[in-house]
């Protein structure tokens, strides 16, 4: 009797995933915990918001991820003059066929990097967010479905607030989690410098390591991972506590709660378990909640810590 029996993941998927992890770790040095959470987010089929200062490797991470899963990668640099049609695509009149043709925008990809999302106007933001939530876009009353693995990595810069349109809470809710990369450790920076000497920086390994089919399969098995009633009750108690907490203006929404469960499932899957434990819930609490409760990062962590300490974990079956 060992853990092996408890795990159901097929070994090839696991190997592929471990390669992806290595790829990401190589792209973002010294941040295995961030990489792990990015993977959790990916497997939970959620979107990711990276919030950090410029030059910390947000875009690098997104590109490495896109190249790693072998899907189509698209990128849009958000600016105030970016129009919704620049993201979703638009109908163009074809002179030869005398018909309107639909030109797909960057959302018709598997991994979309929306750089500096808070610089786009609210109108453009909402177009993107529809795509994120529904995995579809509507252009001129016609609906177009997006890729089922459609994964958005949005970045935003917390420092430079000039000419930005902060995302409203309702739209933030579409993101599964918010991460900040943070500065690498000194040793990692030295290694990074060493790597940079000796040539122009290439795009790196472009060979995908995880196919979209594999990803899709893993995402399905993540979604099917069982959650015991006591853990679900625990999640609900935590959510209620966020609604009750005096420091939090807007508590966790039911949609947020669903996301939390999915992310916890993903974490459990990555940990090789077939069921979710309160540890999974706790491990992903900060990234999942900090995008939703609208507090600055340091305070958010304290408050979440407090809630996790206050709500007792279930210690028997219900």
């Amino acid at each position: 009797m060992t853990v092996a029996e408890l795990s159901v993941s097929s070994s090839s998927d696991l190997v592929a995933l471990s390669h992806l992890r290595d790829r990401l770790n190589l792209a973002l040095r010294g941040k295995p915990e961030v990489v792990e959470l990015v993977l959790v987010c990916l497997l939970a089929n959620g979107h990711l918001l990276l919030e950090d200062k410029p030059g910390l490797g947000k875009t690098t991470l997104a590109k490495a991820l896109a190249s790693g899963i072998g899907g189509q990668f698209a990128r849009c640099q958000c600016t105030p003059d970016l129009l919704p049609s620049d993201i979703t695509g638009f109908n163009i009149f074809n002179q030869s066929s005398h018909e309107f043709e639909f030109r797909e925008g960057p959302v018709f990809s598997d991994v979309l990097l929306a750089d500096e999302i808070n610089r786009a106007t609210p109108r453009t933001q909402s177009a993107l967010l529809e795509a994120m939530a529904e995995r579809q876009v509507t252009v001129d009353t016609k609906r177009y479905s997006l890729s089922t693995q459609f994964f958005v990595i949005a970045t935003q810069n917390p420092v430079d607030q000039h000419g930005t349109y902060p995302l409203p809470e309702a739209q933030l809710d579409r993101f599964a989690m918010k991460l900040s990369v943070g500065y690498p450790a000194a040793a990692d920076e030295v290694r990074m410098l060493q790597d940079a000497v000796g040539g122009l920086r290439s795009g790196g390994d472009v060979q995908p390591v995880l196919s979209l089919e594999q990803l899709s399969r893993i995402q399905e098995s993540v979604a099917a991972l069982s959650v015991a009633p006591n853990v679900q009750n625990y999640l609900v108690r935590l959510a209620q506590e966020t609604r009750r907490h005096t420091s939090i203006a807007l508590g966790l929404s039911p949609r947020g709660l669903l996301t939390w469960q999915r992310v916890a499932q993903s974490h459990a899957w990555l940990s090789g378990r077939t069921f979710v434990t309160p540890d999974d819930v706790q491990q992903v609490a900060v990234p999942v909640l900090s995008v939703r409760i609208g507090l600055d990062p340091a305070e958010a962590e304290t408050v979440i810590q407090e809630i996790l300490t206050d709500v007792p974990v279930p210690d028997c079956q219900e």
């Binding site: 993941s9 915990e33 540890d279 279930p314 079956q317």
Partner: protein, 855 residues
């Protein structure tokens, strides 16, 4: 409540009047409480009732406020329950204990509030508390011979429940329950108590409840503003809640017989059901306590406040009834009596029952004339008299001065007895006995006793030495009293009135002050009768013995004490020991040969020895109110013929005589000890007990000390045995059992798992800081996923094969992580935590690496 039980035979209307008076007393307080109750229901129920609202935690202020409120209600109840029958010291000690315990437990509960609230602990604790308080009653009755009536017992358990819910009441639901019980308790107190202070407390409680409601309401509002959820108004409770106090108010407001009829049998102890309970407070049926009746009297007993009825026995009170134009009955035996006006006579139309047993108030037992009532029996007693008041008490009946070696000759009345005076105090006639002595500072307060003569056929009034005043109800003629001798009074009739309470007021002497009191001369009186010694040769021996006993002790009270002490310690009381008949000086035989004898030998010996040393003394005979005969339930002491006793008195100067008690086993009444002295006496008593049972105490305390020091090991042993032998239903159950065992061990070594951390994480984290064998680490790695699965896993493991594997892992983990092993690692872990506490967060929940070890 409506009818105090434990009664004599009281007519129902009399009881009704009492009830009315009590109800009127409490009406103000009760209406206040009831209105607050109404308001409370409205507010509380309009605020919220969703389940999560009840489970909501309130602020600490509100919690403390609830505890204080509960303590106030408890104080009210304790005072009402004591009913002035218990000593105030014991009442206040009880209150102090309750206050300290409640506040202390609240503090403890608040410290561990998270743990306590989340475990299903509180309801069992509350049930246990109620059960214990109910179980205490039979124990109390058995050990202390006192008890409570049923209704008070029930309310007492409610009081305990109220305190417990308040202590654990960090949640709204418990706080409300506590306050509701408190209000019910206050209403109960208002109904049973006639004390003003209780009613004041109830009024204060009413105010406090209103304040609590405002605070509670505010707390609810606060939570609603934040939670922002809509609440449903519970119409059902809005109607039921206020109607309960309304109904009670209606029932009690309707006075007279109807209230009693309505409430008859409502409280089991009220006597309405015809049952009798020796522990009840009062009531309407037969019982131990005698209460004066007013109408339809069928029985007769000693009285203070009962009306007078005609009887064919000689009475102190002569009654002629103008309303009956009948010939006066010929009474066989006649005695001097006090005339009373006819209005005081109550109509009598049946044979009267007579109670010779005294109750708490020396009152009469009467029966109503209900034809269906059972025949009333006489309650007989063999006591000569009863004493109400503090004992031991020396009641003097005769004094002797001249001794011829064998016989004592009683003192007789001198020519000029002291004058008596009659004075009225609070409308009662009191006979003032002039005090011969100057006011000395050896007296500590006045002492009042009441005696009731039952079978004593004499006209001498038994009284203590320092008698100052005497009162018999309605006897306001000085001529009724005469001096029997210089210090003893008698009544000017053939015998003392039977069943009539004689109140005696006397000075209480603090004998310990005599020792160093400078103004006492101890000079012999000029009256030679009190220093006379028989002219016998043996007197010289007595004198030399006395001198031997007092060698080196200065003249004064210390010498007197020395003589008494020697007699008390070296001689034995033996009522059957007699000197041989040919003996010419029996005291000599007692002093030098047998060294045992009845009390008169002790008294005679002391008298003679003190006389031989130059003190004026006299022998006294009378009754000794023995504390061993004190009847706790009735509050009095019976004096039987075996309580006749001899003692002596010594003249200390300044016109003052002092009672001496040379007989071992008998004590002299001293002033009641103060709180400090009582505490010292208690301490001394405990110390003596410990010394007497030193071996048992030593062994017990050693066992307790070892048990306490090794409590964790012992508990762990128990739990481990349980783990080993209690079979598990399946693999999951087994893993859970193992987890519980490990969790207990962690708790025992001071590493209790915080409620917000899973067992697995906590268990693994403890090992980060300890140097464990690799075997232990691998076992942990095997056990952790099992533990996670047991609690959070949904699917079952595959049956038979796995069961044995699970068992192996469980056994291994239990074997490796013993209490001793964990204790070692706990010390290590704490050391490291201390060193790194500035870096580590208290709960390092999300900064550690995700657990990818299994993938």
């Amino acid at each position: 409540m409506f009818g105090r039980r434990k009664s004599g035979d009281v007519s129902r209307s009399a009881e009704a009047r009492k009830t009315n008076a009590r109800a009127a007393n409490s009406r103000v307080a009760r209406s206040r409480v009831t209105s607050s109750n109404l308001a409370h229901s409205n507010l509380a129920h309009s605020a919220a009732t969703a389940t999560d609202q009840h489970a909501r935690r309130t602020t600490a202020t509100l919690h403390w406020m609830t505890v204080l409120l509960a303590l106030l209600a408890s104080l009210t109840f304790v005072l009402a329950d004591a009913d002035r029958a218990r000593s105030s010291a014991s009442v206040w000690i009880q209150i102090t204990i309750e206050v300290v315990a409640s506040l202390g437990f609240t503090w403890l509960v608040r410290r561990r509030i998270g743990v306590i609230n989340e475990k299903p602990l509180i309801i069992p604790i509350l049930l246990l508390v109620v059960l214990l308080s109910l179980l205490w009653e039979p124990l109390q009755r058995w050990i202390f011979q006192t008890g409570r009536p049923f209704e008070t017992m029930v309310m007492n358990s409610q009081k305990t429940l109220m305190l417990a819910t308040a202590v654990f009441g960090s949640r709204v639901a418990y706080q409300r329950l506590s306050v509701i019980i408190g209000v019910a308790l206050a209403i109960f107190c208002a109904a049973i108590s006639t004390e003003h202070r209780v009613h004041w407390l109830i009024a204060i409680y009413g105010f406090a409840v209103v304040s609590w409601m405002i605070a509670s309401h505010w707390d609810t509002l606060r939570s609603r503003l934040i939670a922002g959820e809509a609440r449903r108004l519970p119409l059902r409770w809005l109607i039921i809640g206020p109607s309960i106090p309304l109904l009670m108010l209606l029932a009690s407001a309707d006075g007279g017989n109807r209230a009693i009829t309505a409430m008859r049998g409502f409280l089991p102890g009220s006597g309405g059901d015809g049952e009798s309970d020796p522990f009840s407070r009062g009531g309407v049926n037969d019982g131990e306590n005698l209460v004066a009746g007013t109408d339809n009297i069928k029985s007769f007993g000693p009285i203070e406040d009962a009306p007078f009825a005609e009887d064919d026995k000689p009475s102190l009170y002569d009654l002629f009834n103008d309303t009956f134009d009948e010939p006066v009955r010929k009474v066989k035996d006649q005695d001097r009596a006090i005339a009373l006006p006819p209005q005081t006579l109550a109509e009598v139309n049946a044979r009267m029952a007579k109670s010779e047993q005294a109750g708490k108030e020396f009152s009469t037992l009467r029966k109503s004339t209900r034809p269906d009532h059972k025949k009333i029996k006489d309650l007989e007693s063999h006591a000569l008299l009863y004493i109400a008041g503090r004992v031991p008490l020396h009641l003097r009946m005769e004094t002797y001065d001249i001794f011829d070696g064998v016989d004592w000759i009683a003192e007789t009345l001198t020519d000029e007895p002291r004058g008596l005076a009659m004075a009225s105090s609070y409308g009662r006639p009191w006979l003032r006995i002039p005090c011969a002595s100057r006011a000395l500072e050896v007296f500590d307060g006045q002492e009042t006793h009441a005696i009731k003569v039952i079978n004593l056929r004499t006209n001498v009034i038994p009284a203590p030495l320092q008698l100052r005043a005497l009162h018999i109800d309605k006897v306001d003629q000085i001529g009724m009293f005469k001096w029997y001798n210089d210090t003893i009074l008698r009544m000017d009739r053939k015998s003392l009135p039977e069943f009539t309470a004689i109140h005696l007021q006397s000075e209480c002497m603090d004998h310990s002050l005599l020792r160093d009191y400078d103004e006492l001369t101890f000079h012999a009186l000029s009256d030679k009768k009190r220093t006379q010694l028989p002219e016998l040769e043996e007197i010289a021996e007595v004198r030399s013995l006395a001198q031997q006993w007092t060698r080196g002790i200065p003249h004064g009270y210390q010498q007197i004490e020395a003589i008494c002490r020697q007699l008390r310690t070296q001689y034995t009381v033996d009522r059957s020991a007699h000197a041989p008949e040919e003996c010419s000086f029996p005291v000599g035989h007692f002093l030098f040969e047998s060294k045992r004898g009845p009390s008169y030998q002790f008294a005679t010996a002391a008298t003679l020895m003190l006389r031989s040393l130059g003190y004026s003394t006299r022998l006294v005979s009378g009754f000794y109110g023995n504390p061993n005969r004190f009847d706790v339930a009735k509050g009095h002491t019976a004096v039987h013929s075996s309580d006749t006793h001899f003692w002596c008195e010594v003249f200390v100067g300044a016109g003052t005589w002092v009672t001496l008690e040379p007989t071992p086993g008998y004590e002299v009444l001293n002033p009641p000890p103060g709180l400090w002295k009582q505490a010292l006496m208690l301490l001394a008593g405990c110390a003596q007990w410990v010394l007497r049972h030193w071996l048992m105490v030593l062994i017990t305390s050693a066992i307790i000390a070892v048990g306490f020091a090794k409590r964790h090991q012992l508990a762990d042993l128990g739990y481990t045995l349980m783990w080993r032998f209690v079979p598990a239903r399946n693999a999951r159950q087994r893993v859970l059992q193992t987890m519980r065992l490990l969790e207990r061990r962690l708790r025992f070594v001071g590493l209790a798992r915080p409620s917000g951390v899973t067992f697995t994480k906590w268990f693994r984290r403890q090992q980060l800081h300890s140097e464990l064998r690799p075997e232990a680490l691998s076992t942990t790695a095997e056990f952790s996923p099992l533990a996670d699965w047991a609690v959070y896993g949904v699917d079952e493991l595959d049956a038979a094969l796995l069961r044995s594997d699970v068992e192996t892992v469980c056994r291994q983990v239990v074997r490796l992580f013993t209490l001793a092993e964990l204790r070692k690692s706990a010390i290590q872990s704490r050391l490291e935590l201390d060193a790194r506490s500035s870096i580590l967060k208290p709960l390092n929940l999300n900064s550690s690496n995700p657990e990818v070890a299994y993938s």
